[in-house]
């Protein structure tokens, strides 16, 4: 017993206690990453479709949640049932089966359908044979058709619309003498536009001719054009191989496709693309700014109390809340700079703003300001770490200060600069609050980079992974149905940020090892 009292008195218990504090923090991290990973990656795996009989009738769906006294079913069929998920008390569950002919049909509208394929019709005639087989046979053609319609609708019609709009603006600023020629061009374009619309109409009718009729668990049926079927997953009939196939196909759709149903389904490609574009533009802006400021502070400015104060100020800027930068970006870049640009260059379009509203350039500039302290600090450290002997050797050989900097110091500091850049990118990719004020939107009609002149549209609004999480998780009317997708988006964002950080960490460690670590 005395032993224990001694153990307590000497504080060993408290060592354990402090160890527990650390363990708890570590559990928090692993718990978070593990939870998001499991939820996100598990989402695409085709689960078993279970049929049960309840007092209110048969229910068909995937089991998505279990509690001691009730089970959550993903019953889908939003257009028929009004809700995607249902909690059913365990006591009411009877006759659990996994019917082999049950399928999950992912559609362009109203979310997935869980049920049975009743029949496939072409031009009003029922296609003979096994409906699943018929569906498999007819789907490739329908998919090609729907893709064609979509691309026609988006690219050609969109381009025509833009051209007509541009000509109209030009027309407003043209003296009466020059107008007839322009008006003729507008007319020609409008004719092309109508012809394209007519072509689209024909294609749409063609697509509507092949339909599939689905039957829900309670016997209700729904007939939809085959062209609006994205994927058919007969989960219960699939083996591990088939399930993996469905999983990968869903994962690919998520990464490479456009969102549907107000972002709750489909892919998040525009958000990935927007995030990458924004971070790239930010990097292009932040590196010269940060490196130049660091070079000035370390190599050119007179060292003294003023510079020390400046250095503290710049360092502390990294601790200023990001939303403050957002407010600054809105007031300065969007309203002041953007508004002025609009007045000077885009006055024809006013009052509709071009640069005087949030856009990818303003968001990138705001984030560049937010992350520039990171680059400055890293670059300064790296510059300071370049051994004095190397500089002196260069200077002794008669090189000028700039030659020494350019040929000796900067190459030596390169890993440090890169570390700063990567840390800045990681920080920039994860920030959402300032973007909400400077140009991110839930659904951007067009990408900031596309095939129309001038290709890079810095004035366009963009989508962003982080904002996607906020928007779908918190602003969406159907956030329960969208939650799994948000997990996947969060996982993706987490992955980007963590990988970038790990990379920066590795780079910094290698640099430290090379330079002996003393300077940091």
């Amino acid at each position: 017993m005395a032993n224990i009292r001694e153990w307590w008195r000497r504080g060993s218990a408290l060592i354990w206690f402090s160890g527990a504090a650390l363990a708890f923090s570590l559990l928090m991290i692993f718990g978070l990453i593990g939870y998001i990973g499991a939820k996100g990656l598990g989402f695409f795996w085709p689960g078993a479709i279970v049929r049960v009989v309840t007092p209110e009738g048969p229910v068909l769906g995937e089991i998505t949640g279990e509690e001691p006294d009730q089970v959550q079913f993903h019953v889908a069929n939003r257009d028929l049932f009004g809700q995607d998920y249902r909690w059913i008390p365990r006591s009411e569950l009877k006759e659990m089966t996994k019917p082999l002919d049950a399928v999950v049909v992912e559609r362009l509208e109203y979310g997935p359908f869980i049920g049975r394929i009743q029949r496939v019709e072409k031009d009003g005639q029922i296609v003979q044979g096994d409906p699943q087989e018929a569906l498999r046979r007819l789907r490739p053609a329908a998919m090609t058709l729907s893709k064609h319609i979509r691309s026609l609708d988006r690219n050609e019609v969109g381009a025509l619309n833009r051209q007509i709009e541009d000509l109209r603006l030009e027309l407003n600023g043209t003296p009466p003498a020059g107008r007839p020629a322009l008006e003729a061009r507008v007319k020609a374009l409008q004719e092309t536009y109508e012809a394209t619309q007519a072509r689209l109409e024909v294609l749409r009718n063609q697509a509507a001719a092949v339909t599939v009729t689905l039957e829900a668990a309670d016997g209700q049926t729904k007939t939809i054009p085959l062209a609006s079927v994205v994927r058919v997953v007969p989960s219960n009939a699939l083996g591990a191989f088939g399930k993996t196939g469905a999983y990968l196909s869903r994962l690919w759709e998520f990464i490479a496709d456009d969102p549907r149903e107000s972002n709750t389904e489909g892919g998040i490609f525009p958000a990935i693309f927007g995030t990458v574009m924004m971070v790239l533009i930010m990097s292009v802006l932040v590196v010269p700014l940060g490196v130049m400021a660091a070079l000035y502070m370390r190599e050119y400015a007179r060292q003294g109390w003023l510079l020390r104060a400046l250095r503290i100020a710049v360092n502390n800027l990294a601790g200023v809340p990001s939303i403050v930068f957002g407010v600054f970006g809105l007031g300065f870049f969007v309203y002041l700079v953007g508004g002025t640009i609009d007045q000077i260059f885009f006055s024809a379009k006013l009052p509709a703003p071009t640069f005087g509203t949030g856009g990818i350039l303003w968001a990138a500039l705001t984030l560049a300001l937010l992350t520039v302290p990171v680059v400055i600090v890293a670059t300064e450290e790296a510059l300071a770490a370049v051994p004095r002997s190397q500089r002196e050797a260069s200077l002794a050989l008669g090189a000028t200060r700039w030659q020494t900097l350019w040929n000796v110091v900067i190459p030596g500091a390169m890993p440090g600069i890169l570390t700063g850049l990567i840390l800045a990118m990681a920080r920039g990719a994860g920030e959402v609050a300032p973007l909400m004020l400077t140009g991110v939107v839930k659904l951007a009609p067009s990408m900031p980079l596309d095939g129309t002149f001038p290709f890079l549209h810095l004035d366009r609004k963009f989508m962003h992974l982080g904002f996607h999480i906020y928007d779908v998780g918190f602003q969406s009317p159907n956030s329960e149905a969208a939650k799994p997708m948000v997990f996947m988006t969060a996982l993706l964002l987490l992955l980007v940020v963590v990988v970038l950080n790990l990379f920066a960490l590795r780079l910094r460690n290698r640099l430290r090892a090379r330079l002996g670590g003393g300077a940091f």
Binding site: I4, R10, G11, I15, W16, S18, G19, A20, A21, L22, A23, F24, S25, L26, L27, M28, I29, L32, Y35, I36, M292, A293, L295, Y296, M297, Y300, I312, N316, G319, V320, P321, I323, V324, F325, G326, V327, G331, V372, T400, W402, Q403, A426, R427, A429, G430, E431, V432, A433, L437, G466, F467, I469, F474, S479, V486, A490, L493, V498, N501, L505
Partner: protein, 720 residues
Amino acid sequence: MRSVTTILNRAKRLDRFMGRVITLGGMTIIAAVLGILIFIGKEAYPLFRAPRSRESAPVRLAPCAALLADETGTALATLDAGRGLTATIAGRSLVLPPGGPALPWTSVTAASSQGHFAAQGADGRIFFCEMQWDKPAETTDPGLWNAQPVWKGGIPSETITLLQARSLPASGIAASSTWRLVAKDAKGRLNWSETEEEAQTPLSWKTVDMPGGESPRCALWSADGTTLFVGTTQGTILAVNLGGLPRVEATAAFGEPVTALGFVLGQTSLLAGGEKGTLKALQMLRQDGQTTLQIFHQFQSMNGPVAGFMASQRDKRFLVWSSDRLAVDHLTTESRLFEAVVPDLRAGSLSARGDRIFAVDARGDLRSWTLDAPHPEISAKILWGKVHYESYPKPDYVWQSSGGTDDFEPKLSLVPLVFGTIKGTFYAMIFALPLAILGALYTSQFATPRLRDTIKPLIEIMAALPSVVLGFLAGLVLAPLFERSAMKVLLFPAATLILALALFPLWRKLPRRIRLGWGTGWEVLWVVPLLLGGLALASAFGPAFERTFLGGDFRGWLLHSHGLTYDQRNSLVVGFAMGFAVIPIIFTISEDALSAVPKSLSSASLACGASPWQTAWRVVLPTASPGIFSAVMVGLGRAIGETMIVLMATGNTPVMDWSPFNGMRTLAANIAVETPEAPVHGSLYRLLFFTAALLFCLTFLLNTAAELVRQHLRKRYESF
């Protein structure tokens, strides 16, 4: 071949050039970065600028009894018993279409701020006029404008002194609008009447009986036309309900004879002016079945009998005038935006926007001023003090920036937001501080070097987790989880402790070799299963505990025995989620500070026989305390400015309540919520910039303090 000198010269030129470019560029960038605060401050500054006014050159008009200005203050109408209605636009007199009461008028009411008035003609017929200005679409040139007074009625009546006519919009089956009139007869009694707009039958006047024999001086209909406010010579203000049987609903003692009554925008606040110039605002309050007339604002005196009021149609400012001065006051702030002395003043007018003021004196000289007071509703008292808003029973701190109606008054107290910020930071810090500092102490003093090298980067990665992911998890996963199993969460620490005490004897029984070899420096890994066990224990016994002690429902128990409500998104959730953001920052800086404590100190302590914990706690920790202080400062800065987590994990309701089971609204989240909706350069927009500047300064100061302490520390240990 180029000569060496050319090459050298070129190199030198390049050197000089690049030197200049970098110096200039570097200075510009640093200036730009520091200019952020200046820009934000500049955007917020107009909020606090004193109102400015400028007088235009006076114009000679004919003497008149009342003045009426249009929205912009460009067009002006004058009312005079002898000359009737006249109108000028930018100094140009207009010929008005015929119509209206026959000249000379026997009486005319003051004009309301919407441009309505009533007049009785020489033939006794009473007309009601809506002054309208015909401004063709898209003309800004006042030369093309015209006046279009719309005369209605023409109802015969006995001769009487009209005080006010209120037109009530048509309702139900009545096709035309009705009017309610109030007037004084030759004996000084108050009379009221109600009529259809197109009625041909003569008006029948009903006398309003005054209780206690008080003599009425002025009167005003309420917005719905059911209550008549009367000011008396005896210094009382009465609210007489004339909806059914006449009855006095409420009275208020004013203190001196009441000479004028008026409304502020929204027509809920009644303005009253007295004979000696006292100026007060009243409101009708209906509470617990009782109606009271509450005096809730008082303004600077007018130093003379108050003659009239006119309200702005944009905000809560109003014009008031007496016989020799006129002033513009703001209802809520009670501040005087404008004051001018005009001898022999007859009438004043305020443009609907409230930016032009007119006054006409006995000789007919028209004087006018422009008033530049874009943000009269903001003052230090509004932001930081308790304010008595309309329809609130008492002064309070309120943040409510937007409402459903046009005449909604934004309530912009920063106190609830600052309170929310402090509350969020407080809960984040009480959760994060012990974990981070103890964890740092453990890592730097007790962990084996290998463990330490793995843990540090891990925690650094934690610092980089995007806050939107944390917020999403907190709002959509943790909040419902905590709600379902609040009891389990609260029991978790106790359960872990009990488990630890239970397992302790077992640990002591293990061979000493294992305990020392695998235990020392690796405690962390042994604790992980312990924590998980504690979690399992809490989950297993939580429901039983809840049933036995709290009647089966934690939230119900909380409400019944403590009167606390449980919001799903509450401070516990925010504190926990913000821990993810704050712990790594405090941990990293503290760990650096603790590791930097010279080995000689701890070695000396150990050599004197102190245990490792005693050394860590009594020697290392105090030595590193400035470093830990700086860690806490930086952590505080992060917690104060954190936006997404708070935005997503709280309900963002600006309540002032310390309960850990409610949410809050912080300054940073408030900026994110309100800025996209705020009209550019409006009061709210500028106020949000002001709060951004506040956040900037606060975090900047915290970080600077931290940095100075750290530098000081670094210098101190250089000698070791």
